[in-house]
């Protein structure tokens, strides 16, 4: 095991925090629990914002969580280059906090959808995707009711031209996301937001078939170790 420390934030209503910690651990890094109410990132080397329904998400996914005390530490740190992965609710929080552009309103189908989704990793130069081949096809579960990525035309254009679309749905678009976008990154590549749940595809036996999600966690480990 390496000594790279990856924090996983628990908000009230976070659900996949333990799953994210497990994935971090399986990849060989040290998972460090972080608490929403602490102004303390415990000097971690990277942070995962896990899936779930922070504060119930009754208003909008991530709308309240972005104001948590831990976020007032995380936001400047992320801007300064700390690697951050937002999964599902974590992606929503990153958008609400304006660390990533766009928004994730209700699915076009109006239904929550849980399924093993085929997608393509289009950008393998981020901190979280370097272990994938460019344009590698993977199967990773999605499970969300609010995941339809939207942004204005200029933002979309900037994302596409900057190669900032990290993952794109293949086959039927599950939620009506613009340009089939499943995940994006910032320009520096340290902040990645994803609707799919790579932490549910890290063990053969458990969750989705295969281990296609593990690459997100091994990528960051490699980056931290080589840093």
């Amino acid at each position: 095991m390496s000594s790279a420390r990856v924090g996983v934030i628990t908000f009230p209503g976070s659900l996949d925090d333990r799953d994210a910690a497990r994935a971090v651990g399986l990849a060989g890094a040290v998972p460090v629990p972080l608490w929403h109410d602490d102004h303390d990132l415990k000097a971690v080397d990277a942070v995962v914002l896990p899936g779930g329904f922070s504060y119930g998400d009754y208003l909008r996914g991530g709308a309240i969580a972005r104001f948590a005390p831990v976020m007032t530490e995380l936001i400047p740190a992320a801007r300064a280059g700390l690697p951050v992965l937002g999964i599902c609710n974590g992606f929503q929080i990153l958008c609400e906090a304006h660390l990533l552009p766009g928004a994730l309103p209700r699915n076009g189908t109006l239904h929550f959808v849980c399924r093993d989704q085929r997608m393509r990793i289009e950008n393998n130069s981020t901190a979280w995707t370097s272990d994938y081949a460019k344009d590698q096809e993977v199967v990773i579960p999605i499970k969300h009711g609010e995941g339809r990525y939207v942004a204005d035309a200029a933002t979309l254009d900037a994302l596409e031209r900057g190669g900032l679309v990290v993952a794109r749905y293949l086959g039927e678009n599950p939620n009506g996301a613009m340009n089939d976008i499943a995940g994006i990154s910032n320009e520096a590549g340290n902040i990645v937001g994803l609707m799919p749940h790579p932490e549910h595809a890290v063990e053969e036996l458990i969750g989705a078939p295969g281990t296609d999600g593990l690459g997100f966690f091994t990528s960051i480990l490699k980056k931290l170790v080589n840093a």
Partner: protein, 768 residues
Amino acid sequence: MSTDSVKRAEQTPDEPQPYAELGMKQDEYLRVREILGRRPTSSELAIYSVMWSEHCSYKSSKVHLRQFAAKAPASDALLVGMGENAGVVEVGDGWAVTFKIESHNHPSYVEPHQGAATGVGGIVRDIMSMGARPVAVMDTLRFGPADAPDTRRVLPGVVGGIGFYGNCLGLPNIGGEVVFDDCYIGNPLVNALCVGVLRKDQIKLATAPGPGNQVILFGARTGPDGIGGASVLASATFDEESAAKRPSVQVGDPFMEKLLIECCLELFAADVVVGIQDLGAAGVSCATTELAAKGTGGMTVRLDAVPLRDETLRPEEILMSESQERMMAVVTPANVAAFMEICRKWDVPATVIGEVTDVTPEEAARGGRLIMTWHGETIVDLPPRTAADEGPVYDRPFSEPLTQAALNEDAPDRLARPTDLRAALLQLLGAPNIASKEWVTSQYDRYVRGNTVLATPADSGMIRIADVVPGLPGDGPGPDGVTTRGIALATDGNGRYARLDPYAGAQLALAEAYRNVATGGARPLAVTNCLNFGSPEDPEVMWQFAEAVRGLADACKTLGVPVTGGNVSFYNQTGSTAINPTPVVGVLGVIDDVSHRVRPGFTEPGARVVLLGETDAEFGGSEWAHVAHGHLGGLPPAVRLESERLLAEVLVEAAASGLLSGSHDLSDGGLGVALAEACLIGGYGCRVILPGTADAFTELFSESTARALVAVRPGSWDRFAELCAKRGVPACALGETGGESLVVEEVLEIPLTELRTTYEGTLPAIFA
């Protein structure tokens, strides 16, 4: 506005009281007066009326349910049996599992979304109150015909509600049922199951020992939820204005429930809880009387201390409120501060509302003493055991329905057999009861918590009990949390079979759930059940109920799996027409190493397709008779418990030895449907020859029980055949997996694409 205090009740003995409006019979009311030696206060009347209701007291079912304990097979695994919030069984390595199923039928008809959502919330709190971490939920649903207009209102609402609550709560949904039948129009069934795990030495019970211990109410504030009845009291005893409309519908807050779960687990880990009880039906009335009854018998409660969402609530309403997401704990004075600190961490409001008291021997003999005050006045002074344990018990008359004999004589033999078996199979495969339920299950998170080994569309759900996160402690305290074990769960119930023969029908439900658990490789261990019936006041319904309970108790004994708990739902009827008797049975199994689990369906090419068990011509209550002829008559398939037991042994041992790459049980629709499903689920076709012991129609569609379809790994056949022979389980090799079609030689050939279109198209076409 005056409060109906004990003093006032003593002074006004003849004041008329609205007991009938509260659903109490006159003799029940008189019994309360006798217990108290005076008329009850309106608050006391509220308590007795809810505690003695059918729902809380099981007054019509108790005399029958006793058989579950009386006939229970000896089981070393049973740690907590019937009578607690949920039963607990030991599963090895120091781990225990608690599980229970409960109905929320009527609320789900009135308001499908919230009714179903709060059904999930309620059963989850039952599991929490045993000291366990809830780890998965299941839902078993019954609706009117899929294309009936009301089904289009009810089903999407119910499914949305279950998904909303379970997903937001973070519990994977690992299985359930969706069944359509005319008899459920106007009376859908929504039964929710929850399973939790705990270290075996950490079981919590609903009890209030230790005089001086504090009674703490925590979780959501109390509002005017589900207290239609209480407004009767308010208006009868007080003025018009307090007769304000009170909703009969409760709204769930899964976020609050999630906080409650984490908060409770931290409270348990800190060892600051002496006794705990969830607040379900009958809310504070139930929690206080039951906690007191199981403790010293003594308790005082300051009802005005209960935190309210609506300050106008009267004491009677507080007592009857069914506000969700509340729990009650008994805590030693020394631990109150630590308790409150943990609640604060999780943002869970908590309030001391009372204290456990000593009782004199005389008081104990009367059933203890529960005193409640309201702004200084005593409004309740009753022996809690009389409310919680000593309710009325009815041995209601029962008699076989007059139509039963004619129903049983109307055997399906007379029905025209199909000439085109290919078309017949496609028709069955696309029928709403058989067709893919993905439209429903894709709305449920089945992966959260990261321990899901099997979920939809497997025959049983399977969960890894505890995992160790590298670098983080296990879910259980200490390194001894390590285990490779898993638990499997399946629920089944066939109302048509039970209608034809309730005794056999209940046994068949058990047999199927038992078989489903074994199919995944788990050893069946214990049983829960939810008995959905019409009105117990109808002797013919009561006969169905008595027969079903007797059948289930007998079968549990034969199979060696004890009933650990369950729930009874009566009055499922529209006018005088009752639903088909629908005993739903849940079976819990254990697998020693989850990596030995067997996946459903044909998951690799070149495996040998083997049919286990014996096939007779059995079409009574079958899906074929239902779909092709709309017919229900004759007798259900024969119950073969000994064969089920041997079959399960074969399946479990074959799984543990790694001989199987796929496995699927035979049930509705028989071998034909099982073959098609195994192809679609696993992704490989197959080429088979029917055994030829009967005609092709019978071999494809009969619903004989104690059968399964397995895919034996290449090279494993000899060992597998030996394993079957040793137990005398008939094993017939039908052919091999592979290819892009389902081929039954000389009978039919259907490409998987066509099967898939038929199988997956039905529900979206109706509900999307």
